[in-house]
């Protein structure tokens, strides 16, 4: 075999291996689930592993109405977007003075925030607290609790340090106020960091199952993740219906992923995701760069 042919065969083989792994192992389960959603229940029982024949679409409308997903979609959007935006803004307001060292012991405060990330998860006391102060089983309460967690703050501190102090001073001399300065100068400079954390925050907020499970009792307050969990328990014998519901719940996040996958993938590669996963890791990942 000539060298050229050998090379073609080699790249072809490599491509084939990659396709088998990425599509076969990582995408196929989801495609398989999607296929089941187009079968009637009888057809699924007779032919569970084959292709749908004929293709039926009624499962989607049935699941949509029976699972109350229209209401839950709105809840999910609220729970994902509002805390995400508030967290980002508060994170900048917290990180800016700390990274500039504008008050006594700002390093101590920073260290304290970092340290608190290692403490035990306070899910049980948070549940008790929520019942006492009235944030339990309430849409506003849930939004308040998820908006005030300060995710991304550690990464922001490092990021703001790269913005020169001289800019602060020049702006202040020109009579620019503090809040205006943050929104018109700091926030635009932090766009890449904010975008990364915004995307991760949205995905995390949308996907959260445990907090809605603990904090939201009424079905009218549930997000789709919580709704699907109950739907699955209720209709577990009707796989096509459950599959349709799962696709309905997965679709919005799949669209977000398809549009923003480059940012997400780069966010991880750049180590920006570290802050959203755990505080401890922010340091070593940053060192890698």
């Amino acid at each position: 075999m000539s060298l050229r042919l050998k090379e073609i065969a080699r790249t072809g083989g490599l491509q084939l291996v990659c396709i088998v792994i990425s599509v076969g192992f990582f995408a196929l389960p989801l495609i398989y689930l999607a296929l089941q959603a187009f079968k009637t229940n009888n057809e699924f029982l007779n032919n569970p592993t084959g292709l749908p024949h004929p293709w039926t679409f009624s499962n989607f409308s049935d699941a949509w109405s029976e699972g109350d997903f229209s209401n839950e979609m709105v809840n999910s959007l609220l729970y994902a977007i509002i805390p995400d935006i508030i967290t980002l803004i508060l994170g900048v307001f917290l990180a800016f003075p700390i990274s500039r060292g504008w008050f006594r012991h700002s390093n101590v405060l920073y260290g304290f925030f970092v340290f608190s990330g290692f403490l035990p998860a306070g899910l049980i006391p948070l549940f008790i607290e929520a019942q006492k102060i009235g944030t339990y089983n309430s849409r506003i309460g849930y939004l308040i609790m998820t908006s005030l967690t300060g995710a991304g703050f550690f990464f922001f501190v490092g990021y703001i340090k790269t913005i020169p102090r001289e800019m602060d001073e020049a702006a202040a001399l020109d009579g620019c106020g503090y809040i205006r300065y943050i929104f018109t100068m700091i926030v635009p400079q932090m766009k890449p960091a904010l975008a990364t954390f915004g995307i991760f925050g949205f995905v995390a907020g949308w996907n959260n199952l445990i907090l809605p499970l603990v904090m939201l009792n009424d079905q009218s307050l549930w997000p789709v993740t919580r709704g699907l969990f109950s739907f699955f328990g209720q209709y577990s014998s009707q796989w096509p219906l459950v599959a349709a519901a799962t696709i309905i719940v997965a679709l919005p996040i799949l669209v977000v992923f398809a549009i923003l996958q480059r940012n997400l993938v780069e966010g991880v590669a750049g180590g920006a995701a570290a802050g959203s996963g755990g505080v401890a890791v922010a340091q070593p990942v940053e060192n890698n760069e």
Binding site: A250, I253, P284, N288
Partner: protein
């Protein structure tokens, strides 16, 4: 400490404090306070139902764990350790393999990487339902495959011997894309001259990997091992959907959730389990950092 250029002479003193006030108070109320009071509640007896009393009972929950509830407690610790070890080892191996395969910028590779990364953007609910279908003992696609391979049937997620390993594999399936990306970022930082020098010296693939790639990935391995292990010590959301902690999958986190929010809630004992989980995380985390850092130096 430097002085803030913004504001008048009067506002200058409290302006930075005002800036951090809301997030700091939020963090105190919904972050630090619940976290620290977990320790307080671990010394109490409390069902959590409105109107029921809270008894301070000293070490009762701790002594229960080592006496009447010892079998539940010890088995959940063992399951947690198996879970952490299984997920970490598998995910590092698979993540590294995928990174070596897909590190280059070639046609289609961006799509393959995105597909491998994709599972983790889905909620545990979606992943849980998805694999409940795949491993459905009656109508799932895994059933005929298993039957073909072993000639017998299995309840999969309802099987005492299989459930924990399946949950581990599903967890790895969900997050190995992350490990892969961290490794790819590190692989791309290795200077290509090193590989040229190695190939001039006649080093084969395996020796190049053993003596160049693997040592230079030490930092990324530290990050990946630490992140993976710390991320799954407290895992229970995925387990909640897949098996609800039955069939030998009750990790400490799942045990805690069950105790605190199950049928017969005991928030005091649950808090004790959260503290126990914290201690285990602390021990595993510091041991890992110690050994991984030392390894980085010696490699």
């Amino acid at each position: 400490m430097s002085t803030i250029p913004f504001g008048t002479r009067r506002t200058r003193r409290w302006l930075p404090w005002a800036s951090i006030a809301v997030p700091t108070i939020g963090w105190l109320v919904f972050g630090l306070f619940p976290s620290v009071s977990t320790v307080f509640f671990s010394f109490t007896e409390y069902s959590g139902f409105p109107g029921t009393p809270l008894h301070f009972c000293g070490m009762c929950n701790y002594s229960n764990a080592f006496n009447s509830s010892w079998s539940d407690f010890s088995s959940s610790v063992v399951v947690t350790l198996k879970y952490v070890a299984g997920v970490t080892i598998l995910q590092i191996a698979i993540g590294l393999g995928l990174a070596l395969l897909l590190r280059h910028r070639r046609k289609g590779f961006g799509l393959y990487r995105a597909l491998i990364f994709m599972p983790q953007v889905f909620s545990v609910t979606i992943v849980g339902v998805l694999f409940s279908l795949v491993f459905d003992p009656q109508n799932g696609p895994a059933e005929p495959m298993y039957h073909g391979l072993f000639g017998s049937t299995s309840a999969f997620l309802g099987d005492q011997n299989w459930a924990l390993w399946l949950v581990i594999m599903i967890n790895v399936w969900m997050f190995s894309g992350y490990t892969m990306l961290v490794y790819i970022a590190a692989l791309r930082r290795i200077p290509p001259e090193l590989y040229e020098a190695a190939s001039l010296d006649g080093a084969g693939r395996f020796r190049t990997f053993r003596h160049i790639t693997w040592p230079l990935l030490a930092n990324a391995t530290t990050v990946n091992v630490f992140l993976t292990a710390m991320g799954c010590v407290g895992e229970f959301a995925l387990i909640r959907v897949l098996t609800d902690g039955h069939y030998g999958t009750k990790t400490l986190g799942m045990y805690m959730f069950d105790t605190a929010f199950g049928v017969n809630p005991s928030l005091g004992y649950g808090s004790m389990l959260a503290v126990a989980q914290f201690l285990i995380t602390l021990v595993i985390g510091s041991a890992l950092l110690f050994f991984l850092r030392r390894r980085e130096v010696t490699l």
